[in-house]
Amino acid sequence: MAERAAERTWDQVETLAPKKAVPEGLWTQCPECGESLFRKALEQNLHVCMKCDHHMRISARQRVEQLLDPGTFEPMNATMSPMDPLSFVDMKPYRERIAQAQRQTGENDGVQTGAGFIKGRKVVVAALDFTFLAGSMGSVVGEKVTRAIEHATDHAVPVIVVSCSGGARMQESGFSLMQMAKTSAALARLDDAGGLFISVLTDPTTGGVTASFAMLGDVIIAEPHALIGFAGPRVIRQTIRQELPEGFQTSEFLLAAGFIDRIVHRANLRSEISRFIDFSGT
């Protein structure tokens, strides 16, 4: 029972990621429809397939670049790097996993935070990075998201968090669990201060990230066809021992269930976010 009830964490989502890294070259393939795409054109199309409109996963750095006005991003706490508070060792020490992820991504941990502008409006932004240990939330992700929210609260600036995460980071156990409380408590203070929080859900958003800040936006929007849920599909399938309905835990499913405000195409994110900021008057 217990293992079935467990929240999905980052390693489980690895199987959902494309099996092979996209080969370097002029051309790349859409993981959804298999279409060969000219890399430059794909980049210009915000990594959305020109043929089937599949929204591909992008790194936090790419996300920030796409979302903000060019050259306006000022990173915060960029050098913050994970510790190993429990000296966690499974089949591989956590320290090694961190070092490997840092080598592969060139990032310190799984989130980019900072200040910038969207169509001339000042914002604080946090983007989770699936390429770094599946965007899992450990102490660094929790702390940086919290600081971003606090900065937004103190400076009366809207905060936008783009979630892309397999959930809590097991290797920090209780510490990662408490990041859920920490980030949510910071959002309570932002709310008390009348601040605007726009939560953007992208593929995938699951586990402890969904069950904390991701679901607490004044406005919650999702990219099309993203996997969004609390428990992972595999865990649910094992628990109830039956097949899951078509389209279960997609953005469209959540919209119909009443848990997100809108589904927004990646190309329209900047304009929609600007609109919310204007309406809120923040």
Binding site: A2, M83, Q179, R189
Partner: protein
């Protein structure tokens, strides 16, 4: 009585004691009985003093371990259960109600696993649905309005993972509880009485003071869940490794600053003497509430915020 494998030697001695006690010449065997009882007590203490984290998890799941409803019976007076989230339904996996504990009128909220098979199924073995978390919040808000402290008892393997729970917003229900509990203007104390499984546990445990019963566990994932993912297979060996790695025991959580107290259980665990466990818990609750009810709501909420704010801030370091 259900026996965990490491309890078996103790139970064997107890069987001998029973046999002697029921023997016709019991009086003449007094010395022998006394020796056996002493051996039993020593063995029990020794066994429980050296439990591995994985063994602790199994004690936390012992079928005879007291549950929320038992603690209510033993610890509360004038309990008045309140049902329903006024949105969707009533989730038996979370019990809520008005109660008196010592000198305090409180709102009691706790996971319930169920005792009989029928109860266990209706409680989904202590895995609450969104309506359970929403019911908890509704009653906690009422407590805030009437300036009643809140006592929550945590005992869940995790929030329920099912089709309907997803459809009704399991993640949203937990997230809202985390945010709202962080700013409720009334004292909150939480005790992990058995299993503290992840977000499903935290969803009623954002408290001014959090305690764990000595043989409870509290972690981001169950040892089996962790073993299945990180060791690719959950079995006795990997579960044991995962339980240790996760630092899920009361002592480790205390050392890591993630909880405030450990409540000592009677020798051999709460299931051997539920009344003693309830009494220790009641003592802790009353002690905490005496302190917390003295604080003005602003101070209370600020301290609660600062406590959770500090968690994991030292675990992440600033380079250069």
């Amino acid at each position: 009585m259900y026996a965990l494998d490491f309890e078996q030697p103790v139970l064997d001695i107890e069987k001998q004691i029973e046999r002697l006690e029921s023997a016709p010449a019991a009086a003449t065997l007094a010395d022998e009985l006394a020796t056996l009882k002493a051996t039993r007590d020593t063995l029990l203490r020794k066994t429980y003093a050296s439990l591995t984290p994985w063994q602790t998890v199994r004690v936390a799941r012992h079928p005879a371990r007291p549950q929320t409803a038992d603690y209510i019976d033993m610890m509360c007076r004038d309990f008045c259960q309140l049902h329903g989230d006024r949105r969707f339904g009533d989730d038996p996996a979370i019990i809520t109600g008005l109660a008196r504990i010592g000198p305090f009128k409180v709102m009691l909220v706790g996971h319930q696993k169920g005792r009989t098979t029928a109860e266990r199924i209706s409680c989904r073995f202590g895995c609450a649905n969104p309506e359970g978390y929403r019911k908890a919040l509704l009653k906690m808000r009422m407590a805030e309005k009437f300036k009643m402290p809140i006592v929550t008892l945590v005992d869940t393997p995790g929030a329920y993972p099912g089709i309907e729970s997803e459809q009704r917003g399991q993640a949203e229900a937990i997230a809202v509880n985390l945010r709202e509990m962080s700013r409720l203007r009334t004292p909150i104390v939480s005790i992990v009485i058995g299993e503290g499984g992840s977000g499903g546990a935290l969803g009623i445990a954002v408290a001014d003071k959090v305690a764990m019963m000595q043989y409870a566990w509290y972690s981001v994932i169950s040892p089996e869940g962790c073993a299945a993912i990180l060791w690719k297979e959950a079995n006795e060996t990997t579960n044991t490794k995962a339980a240790t790695a996760l630092a899920l025991t009361a002592d480790r959580n205390l050392t890591n600053g993630l909880i405030d107290s450990v409540i000592t259980e009677p020798a051999g665990g709460a299931h051997r003497d539920p009344r003693a466990a309830a009494s220790a818990m009641q003592h802790w609750i009353v002690e905490q509430l005496r302190e917390l009810t003295r604080l003005d709501p602003d101070t209370l909420v600020r301290r609660r915020f600062e406590k959770f704010r500090a968690m994991g801030s030292t675990a992440s370091r600033q380079l250069a």
